[in-house]
């Protein structure tokens, strides 16, 4: 009854092509943004901002970037963390070397730098496909991190290669508290997420999906593969780059190249697979799942062990955490290989018909 599109007539092309054609979706997204911008800053504590919400949004953004490349354009990549590293180091250097540059320009510059690097490593995608490409993107992962370690210019000649992000100042206001940083990250992520949603339904997005589903067929119907694939790499790396800059400036504060490890790339990949490939919402759901599950296990397992009086040592608890994490990933894939976003979609379908099942 509540979620039904019957009766919502579209009388113009503009109305038919809008981002959220169903009224309930529009209300939902406005409500969601209102809660994120207005309610959460009032109720959430410092722990929630700096340990959960900020990394959640940043990783969701990175996952979104990877989802554009992998979920929409079908190019498997294992190098997302390296593009984040490019973004982080680029933003640092823009701030350091360009006198008086506004921080938002640095973030955009970070995204563009990452996009440039992304195009470079995207070139082989014309010849290489599938898992071969995935392993090729590993070359990007290792090579970029090595470069950042080896050329001292990138880290302003710090002896350890670690950079400390500068203060975040916009229009004379210093974003110092976790709440302010959260709002900044949220604004950037919200804008970029809506942009991605918009892009996905445009001709570019449809070209990506055509390439994903079968690139030879896409070529036959007149989609030029080179610009399409490279654009996917560029946009994806742009998102990852901005996420990396936010990671350094609004989350950790100090970063080292080794922190952007293969492990992190994998976590971002988990996010989109668990969340749902080719879904904007899925990137957010996946990021929430992958970030929160270990924290949840970390708290729940010792509590459970205490409850039943099980004689677990700390090491055993830690091992069980990893084990359960792995098992849950397999479980989710078996139950719903298309990710959490798919569950949400099924729910929506059900809602549409509710309360009459047919």
């Amino acid at each position: 009854m509540l979620y039904r599109e019957a009766g919502q007539f579209k009388s113009s092309y503009a109305a038919d092509q809008q981002l959220f054609p169903i009224r309930q979706d529009r209300i939902g997204i406005i409500l969601l943004l209102a809660v994120a911008f207005l309610v959460i800053p009032l109720v959430a504590g410092e722990y929630w901002f700096s340990a959960i919400l900020i990394p959640f949004l940043i990783f969701a953004l990175a996952a979104l970037g990877l989802n554009i490349l992998t979920g929409y354009a079908g190019q498997l990549s294992l190098g997302s963390a390296a593009f984040m590293a490019v973004g982080a180091y680029a933003a640092y250097n823009f701030q350091l070397r360009v006198e008086g540059i506004p921080i938002l320009f640095s973030f955009i510059g970070a995204g563009l730098t990452a996009a440039g690097v992304g195009i470079l490593f995207g070139l082989p995608s014309l010849w290489i496909k599938g898992f071969y490409l995935a392993v090729a993107t590993l070359a990007a992962q290792f090579f970029i991190v090595w470069c950042l370690t080896k050329f001292p210019w990138f880290s302003n000649h710090s002896s350890s290669g670690v950079i400390s992000a500068q203060k975040v100042v916009i229009l004379g206001h210093v974003f110092a508290s976790p709440r302010e940083k959260y709002l900044l990250v949220l604004s950037i992520v919200a804008v970029l997420a809506l942009a991605a949603k918009n892009m996905a339904r445009s001709s570019t997005g449809r070209a990506w999906m055509a390439v994903r589903d079968m690139d030879v067929a896409a070529e036959v119907i007149g989609i030029r593969l080179l610009p399409t694939k490279l654009l996917a790499f560029a946009v994806s790396s742009f998102y990852c780059g901005v996420a990396g800059a936010l990671y350094a400036f609004c989350y950790l504060g100090s970063v080292e190249p080794d922190g952007f490890s293969l492990d992190m790339s994998f976590r971002i990949l988990f996010m989109i697979i668990i969340g749902g490939m080719g879904s904007i919402l899925g990137s957010f759901l996946g990021a929430a799942f992958i970030l929160l599950l270990p924290i949840f296990l970390d708290i729940a397992l010792p509590w459970l062990a205490g409850l039943f009086g099980l004689p677990f040592s700390n090491a055993t608890v830690s091992h069980i955490q990893i084990l359960v994490f792995g098992a849950l990933i397999m479980f989710f894939l078996i139950v719903e290989p298309h990710g959490l976003a798919r569950l949400w979609q099924i729910g929506k379908e059900k809602l549409r018909l509710w309360p009459f099942p047919h």
Binding site: G45, A51, S160, K167, L252, S254, E256, L285, S318
Partner: protein
Amino acid sequence: MFAYRKPLLMTAAAFAMLSQVAAAEEQFFPIVSYRVGPYGANGQSFYGGFVDYLNYVNLKDGGINGVKLAWEECETEYNNAKGVECYERLKAKAKVSTGPLHVMSTGISYALIDKTAEDKLPLAMMGYGRTDAVDGSVFPYAFPLVTTYQMQASAIIKFIKDKEKGNLDGKKIVFLYHDSAYGKEPIVALQEEAKLNKFALTLIPVAHPGNEQSAQWLQIRQENPDYVVFWGWGVMNQTAIKAAQKVGFARDKMIGSWWAGSEEDTVPAGDAAKGYMAATWNVAGSDVPLIADIKKVVYGAGKGNLQDQAKLGTILYNRGVSAAVLSVEALRGAQEKYGKGKPVNGEQVRWAMENLNITDARLKEIGATDLLPPIKTSCADHEGSGMVKIQQWDGAKWVPVSGWIEGNKGLIHPLFKASAQQYAKEKGITPKDCAKES
């Protein structure tokens, strides 16, 4: 789209309930640890020793002046982002009362260095982390206690120099290192030493994780150096020892850092490790009175943290105990100044850590004679000792082969000062005046 907010809020409620458990009259220790993952075995020994000593203080003396010690552990898997999450999770409780934070990871300590200063919680980095934090005027809340990579490198050179009868002129030393912040820090110090002592220094990096080193060791064989100074971690250590055997390089010409000198590094290398030397700031052995007493008191009461008691007395276990000893001594000092029998907060512990004075006599009282060097810190010197011992693996255990050796402070500490100044300038920090501190 709301679907994921609700469980979030529910977990929030669960958090809130959990975090109210700590009682008021306890001294809380946030323990950001790791016991799984690539370095899990090292973490288990270190944090096992750390927790055992806290337990020991509770069981033996009923806490510090009657204040019981309490702690909560959080697993980081040696991952920076998880380390930050753990820190934020434990922070709320640590703001009431806290012991120094030990993260035993250079990456995590870098990520926390600004946050801890902001939250006024002391961060101890014993033999890792940001070394220029020795300069307390720029880094009031960070303490690279005991000794740093640079001072250690300098001490190793001093040891080699003594072995070579005081002259290194024309000698060749290879520095083989893990290609990361950890391995790169001592390079500056070694270069300065090379200039001063006129030996030839060759730098050979090893890519992470370092489980393949035949190229590097063939290169070393080609160079034929007099000594190899070695900065490895985890699997890189065993691989290096084995690879040295493979190319026939004498192990007793190889001197590792303190993260390359524990039983976890030598036992897996088997016989190849015999003769291998490493620096350390704490000695091994379960015959140290304190360790023997922990075994009796804590394990006797069935409250030991480690399942495998054979680990008691290993280098990393003793290192964990040493870290806990220093932490507890800092708390004692803070109580001394700010009120006995009351829990102390981060600011108070910070003061105590800056004014530590642990003499040989005090170490003897604790039963930790020679377990670690005596320490005296100040605002200008957050390191407090700069001394290491060189130990040698005899095939079954680590045997000290030198006394406490101090690195060349006059050469190394100005490097810290300069680096800290640059950091202060970049960050817009006004260094405080150490002369005015008491």
